[in-house]
């Protein structure tokens, strides 16, 4: 079982790292390049992060 995601895949926000030099860390509506980031917490406290290419609704 997983806790709730702390980021939403495919949210469409564009405040993430889009290339070039260092960007700041992002949380809500996180993106990196063309990827959206969804974070989950497992029952034992371990983090699971899913990276999905923009435009793909998975998972």
């Amino acid at each position: 079982m997983l806790g709730k995601p702390t980021g939403s895949p495919g949210s469409g926000q564009s405040q993430g790292d889009s290339g070039g030099q260092e960007g700041e860390r992002q949380r809500a509506g996180e993106r990196v390049g063309a990827l959206t980031i969804a974070r989950f917490v497992k029952d034992d406290g371990r983090e699971l992060i899913l990276y999905t290419r923009t435009g793909d609704e998975r998972p």
Binding site: M1, L2, D17, S18, G19, G20, Q21, E22, G23, R25, V32, G33, A34, L35, I37, K42, R46, E47, L48, I49, L50, Y51, T52, R53, D56, R58, P59
Partner: protein, 311 residues
């Protein structure tokens, strides 16, 4: 929790992670913990019926907070395949995932060095066949990046930049080039088919790369693995390591330098024979190789051409 002990004779840290003895060992495909969770099947590490790229904290970590990190990077939800067989856009996405993990782990106070790597094949100790890599966040600067920093000082500049210039000038050991990336068998390779993949421009880490560089870095890595697989017409075992700038001040207090490059260490010296680290390598730290890098480069260029024909 792992325990660190300093080995005085080798001047190196040893990490004792005794819980790793219990880690999953070569499960059947139906019990793979890196596959998606199938309806009616056991819950895997990724409880979704499909995904693109997943990263999670290693269940059997060598390092963990507050003394480092250990993560697993699952390249695809397909149990079969390899880095070489990923769609090009998926391999490019993997470069962005690496970059993101380097940035996030490197920002932590307890992580001094981020090591992204892949072990492929039972010959190098793989315990899960599903295409994946790992990331360790070390709570200290390990010996290899310390040696790389020393090489920068010895060569009075960026050592990977200097070595790349030399390899391009000589040319005989270069096996692949594109606009942003070069791959070559190094002049003093330790392993018979060792390959180094280097950005043409000085980039301390993935964070400094332009998007086009990440795209062509992925293309280069895929080409190298395809060449390896074509070399002996078999899945080619290797250890692949991403070398980047340390993420904390160096022990000497000097600002950390570094140049992003990827090194492949394949244990095969022929189609059937492994190179073992034996007396000289373990006792003296001196590699004895029975293959000249120039000859290996020729073989790998031919294998690369065969792989391109088959694609």
């Amino acid at each position: 929790m792992s325990e660190l002990r300093f080995n005085e004779l080798r001047a190196e840290q040893i990490a004792y992670a005794i819980h790793r003895q219990e880690r999953t060992f070569l499960p059947s495909a139906g019990r793979c913990p890196l596959c998606p969770t199938r309806p009616g099947g056991p819950e895997t590490e990724i409880p979704f019926d499909r995904f693109e790229i997943a990263v999670f904290d290693n269940r059997f970590p060598a390092f963990e907070q507050p003394l480092g990190a250990a993560e697993v990077v699952v390249y695809t939800d397909s149990h079969e395949g390899s880095l070489a067989t990923l769609p090009a856009e998926q391999a490019e996405a993997l470069m962005w995932v690496w970059r993101h993990r380097y940035r996030e782990l490197g920002a932590r106070e307890d992580v001094h060095y981020v090591l992204i790597f892949e072990n492929r094949g039972v010959e190098v100790g793989v315990t899960l066949h599903h295409p994946h890599g790992q990331i360790y966040g070390y709570p200290f600067l390990p010996p290899v990046p310390q040696l790389e920093l020393a090489a920068d000082q010895r060569l009075q500049g960026c050592a990977p930049c200097a070595l790349l210039r030399e390899e391009l000038a000589v040319g005989r050991r270069v096996i692949y080039e594109n606009e942003h990336v070069v791959a070559y068998v190094p002049y003093a390779a330790r392993w018979a088919y060792e390959v180094h993949v280097v950005l043409r421009e000085h980039r301390p880490s993935l964070l400094a790369c332009e998007p086009a560089e990440l795209e062509l870095l992925a293309a280069c890595l895929q080409s190298i693995v395809r060449a390896y697989d074509a070399l002996f017409d078999r899945p080619f075992p290797y250890v692949m390591v991403v070398h980047q700038q340390p993420t904390a001040p160096t022990p000497s207090g000097l600002p950390p330098s570094g140049h992003l490059h990827i090194e492949f260490y394949p244990p095969l010296r022929t189609a059937e024979k492994l190179k073992y680290l034996a007396g000289s390598e373990q006792g003296a730290g001196t590699f004895i190789s029975d293959t000249l890098p120039e000859r290996s480069a020729t073989s790998l260029r031919e294998a690369l051409a065969r792989a391109a024909e088959q694609a």
